[in-house]
């Protein structure tokens, strides 16, 4: 490094400081620009920002700009020229930088060094607020002002502020509900729908918190979301049903394989067919002998789950003693038939021939049934296997859990929220049970299927969480429409959508909602019990039309409908009572 270059070193160091200062300003300008765009997108409801995020954006840009300014490598000629201009060196520095090696060039450098050494870098490059810094400060202030005023309740009246606070509270609830929904597994057939729903809910929540939507718009959006959530929930229920069917199949295959191992020929059982007369004979014997079902409840259940036909079931349900008795009764019946044949000598030939055919047919059936019973004679091993299967705590537990899951799937379809913890525990238990039911040779395929079903359930495909989230999503409707609490129970969430929630049984409601059960007719296919919830408007006192004002016209319309026989006669009284009760309220 030449003497002249050394003389410029302090200026280069100073330029790093000044460069960082300038870079900071440029970075802040850029950050303000980014923040401005962000705020614009926020106002356009395309993206959402808060103070922290905006500050981080500006700060990050400022830091990046500062670092870039500090590490920026300035061209040596540019530095020399700058020092010339600022230090009024009459181009000594730039000439020294470019000069060759002759005597005059050395003289130029010597002259430049002596002049440069007299200069103070801090004086030449002061740290002062220049236009860039001013622009940066004004930009940030402008963005902050716009964002602050846009989000501030300062410019709102008391009523508007109150409404805004309510909406913000509802918005918080929506965001809270949407959060776990957005954290669902990223794969699976329902994941895309769940994510979109979560995204839409988040957006609605943010809009509400920022007061970007009014109550009516929020209601419309919420209704759309509710419909979307309902579709998602139904899809999840269907998925759950499919998974349960898989689990049932797996369980049946497991039981059948265990019985097959014990010697039961399941194909033979499936092939059993009894005539009506045979079945009537067995039933007659059952009544006459006073047979009770000696199979334990577990054994009967297992037989149910084996999927046996009614014919095989009638025989298989009999205990060994009962089968002995039936065999004996069959022999007796055959003997009686033989006796009847013997007594028919006095009959005319035609009648005797007909009787003989009937008796032969009955005898053939008895023989066939006796053969069947012999073929169904279960060995001790089979009986033991059946007992073990019935008494196996793991199998019992598995079946129980399956039943509970079915029950919950049913509840889901009815719009009830399942207990997520319960579902989680159940899934875990089923997994453990599947592990206990080890039989590598014959049940490998079944276990694999069962495990797969359990894993899918655990991974969320089987809707245990989906149901929870969907139900929670529906729950936000309640919060949105009635932020103050009260109102209907969670199962009444669609009341405001104008839909009718159908159920097999009457639903219990909570809060202020009144319910009216109406038995109606659905199409041509007979009757179906349904419950139509007719609650007061969820907007309550904030309805655009006063309740008292609109009630008489509705009541009159209802009475007119009754008078014109438009309402089924059996419901006329209920309709009148309903409107009377509204009038009292």
């Amino acid at each position: 490094m030449s003497e002249f270059e050394r003389s410029l070193q302090p200026f280069r160091r100073r330029l790093r400081v000044v460069g960082a200062w300038a870079g900071l300003a440029y970075g802040v300008c850029l950050g303000a620009l980014v923040a401005g765009v962000w705020v614009a997108l926020d106002f356009a409801r395309l993206a959402y920002a808060d103070w922290g995020q905006l500050a981080v954006a500006v700060g990050a840009c400022a830091l990046a700009g500062s670092v870039a300014g500090a590490v920026w490598r300035w061209d040596p000629i540019a530095v020399a020229r700058s020092v010339d201009l600022r230090g009024q060196l009459r181009d000594r520095a730039v000439s020294a930088e470019e000069a060759g090696k002759d005597e005059f060039a050395q003289a130029v450098r010597h002259d430049a060094v002596s002049r440069v050494s007299e200069l103070d870098p801090a004086v030449l490059y002061p740290l002062r607020a220049r236009r860039t810094q001013l622009i940066a400060a004004v930009s940030v202030a402008a963005v902050a002002l716009v964002f602050g005023l846009g989000s501030s309740p300062l410019l709102r009246g008391p009523k508007s502020a109150e409404e805004r606070a309510e909406l913000a509270k509802a918005g918080q609830a929506v965001v809270r509900v949407a959060k776990p929904l957005g954290e669902r597994p990223k794969s699976g057939p329902m994941a895309a729908g769940d994510r979109k729903l979560a995204s839409d809910m988040n957006r609605l929540g943010e809009d509400l918190q920022r007061g970007r939507v009014n109550r009516e718009e929020a209601m419309r959006t919420a209704n759309k979301l509710a419909e979307q959530a309902e579709r998602q929930a139904k899809a999840h229920v269907e998925e759950a049903k499919a998974e349960i069917a898989k689990a049932q199949t797996a369980l049946r295959q497991y039981q059948q394989s265990q019985l097959s191992e014990a010697g039961v020929d399941m194909e033979k059982l499936d092939a059993i067919e009894l005539s009506q007369e045979q079945l009537e004979f067995i039933e007659k014997e059952r009544v006459e002998q006073g047979w009770k079902n000696e199979r334990s409840e577990g054994e009967s259940e297992k037989l149910d789950q084996l999927g046996l036909k009614e014919d095989a079931r009638a025989l298989a349900e009999l205990s060994p003693q009962q089968r002995d008795q039936l065999r004996q009764a069959t022999n007796e019946r055959m003997a009686e038939l033989q006796r009847q044949i013997d007594k028919m000598d006095s009959l005319p030939p035609e009648q005797r021939k007909a009787m003989e055919r009937q008796i032969a047919e009955a005898r053939r059936q008895m023989e066939e049934m006796r053969d069947l019973m012999q073929s169904l004679e279960m060995s001790e091993d089979v009986e033991k296997a059946l007992r073990e299967l019935a008494q196996s705590p793991e199998a019992q537990e598995l079946a129980k859990k399956l039943q509970e899951m079915q029950s919950m799937a049913q509840q889901q379809s009815e719009g009830k929220q399942p207990d997520p913890e319960q579902l989680k525990q159940m899934a875990e238990q089923m997994k453990q049970l599947a592990e206990k039911l080890k039989d590598p040779a014959t049940r490998a395929a079944m276990k694999e299927m069962m495990k797969k079903a359990l894993e899918e359930m655990e991974s969320g495909k089987m809707s245990k969480e989906s149901a929870q989230q969907m139900a929670a999503a529906l729950g936000m409707m309640q919060e949105l429409q009635n932020p103050g609490g009260g109102g209907t129970g969670s199962q009444d969430q669609f009341a405001d959508t104008g839909k009718i929630v159908r159920s097999e049984k009457e639903m219990e409601t909570k809060g202020k909602t009144t319910k009216t059960g109406v038995r109606g007719e659905w199409g041509k296919g007979g009757k179906e019990y349904n419950v139509e919830l007719k609650a007061p408007t969820q907007l309550g006192s904030k309805s655009s039309v006063p309740y008292r004002k609109i009630l008489p016209s509705y009541k009159k319309a209802a009475e007119s409908a009754v008078d014109r026989d438009l309402v089924p006669r059996e419901h006329e009284k209920r309709v009148k009572e309903y409107f009377d009760s509204l009038g009292k309220g």
Binding site: G19, W74, I77, L85, V94, A99, E103, A105, Q106
Partner: protein
Amino acid sequence: MEAQQEASWFRDKFLEIKDMVGRVIVGQDQVVESTLVALAANGHVLLEGLPGLGKTLLVRTLSEAVSLPFSRIQFTPDMMPADVTGTNVLVQSREGERAFEFRKGPVFANLVLADEINRATPKTQSALLEAMQEHRVTVGGVQNELPEPFLVMATQNPIEQEGTYPLPEAQLDRFFFKLLVPFPDRADLARIVQQTTGTEEPVTAHVATGEDVLKMREVVRKVVLAEDVLARGLAIVLGTHPEGEGTTDHAKKYVRYGASPRGAQALVTAAKVYALLDSRFNVSFEDLKRAARPALRHRIVLNYEAEAEGVTTDQVVGQALASVERGTKDPIGV
């Protein structure tokens, strides 16, 4: 350091000559300095001013100061080229032999004053062309070298247009500087009157020699010119052109032809002299600014619109300078 000694000697010698000439030429410091700059830069000077402003006295005083022969040519319309360059004459020796002998004209001097050059015909004016550019004269097929240092100082009267022949562009371009000799102010005029009407006449001493002048020219060429400064100098020259890169609004509107490459050479060389005078070893933009008007003003050909509006070439050069100065920004704008 030798360079410093050379530069110091140059400055001292220059100032010594200037001081000596300045004792006689009152109130024309700028003209005296510029003439010396041209002398040091190996250029010729065109002086434009009213009669009686001391132009002839300047040349004579300068020749005395630098101890160089001086000749004066008073140009008239009937003057022939041979009256300037010299001619071959038939001479007879004592033995009776006759032969042509070249008789040197007045141009054969170190310092030549071509007084009222625009009164001569173009033919006679052009006789000076070769002498000014090549420092030699060709007569009868024979080249005759002019003595070094050689400096032509031509004068012309700006107001007497009747019976004059304006110098052609080619000849104007050969002048290093065109100096405008102003009328002295009241104080200077008083000094002139007192100095020239009294009994004591200022005495001019020999403070330099022809060798000194030649050495000064060598020193000038050593001055460092940075690329960045050269770029700005060229930008000034290009700024006088009506078209092309860096042209100015004035040039576009009023200029027919801009300054020639000789103008750029003159600009830079003169700037080097100014740099030495400022005790520097490098040319700066300030030096270029000082040299721009005298070096470029006579090399710009204005159009009729400029003449109609009274626009001068100095204004065009001023615009070019301002344009370059505006473009000279701190490359580190932090």
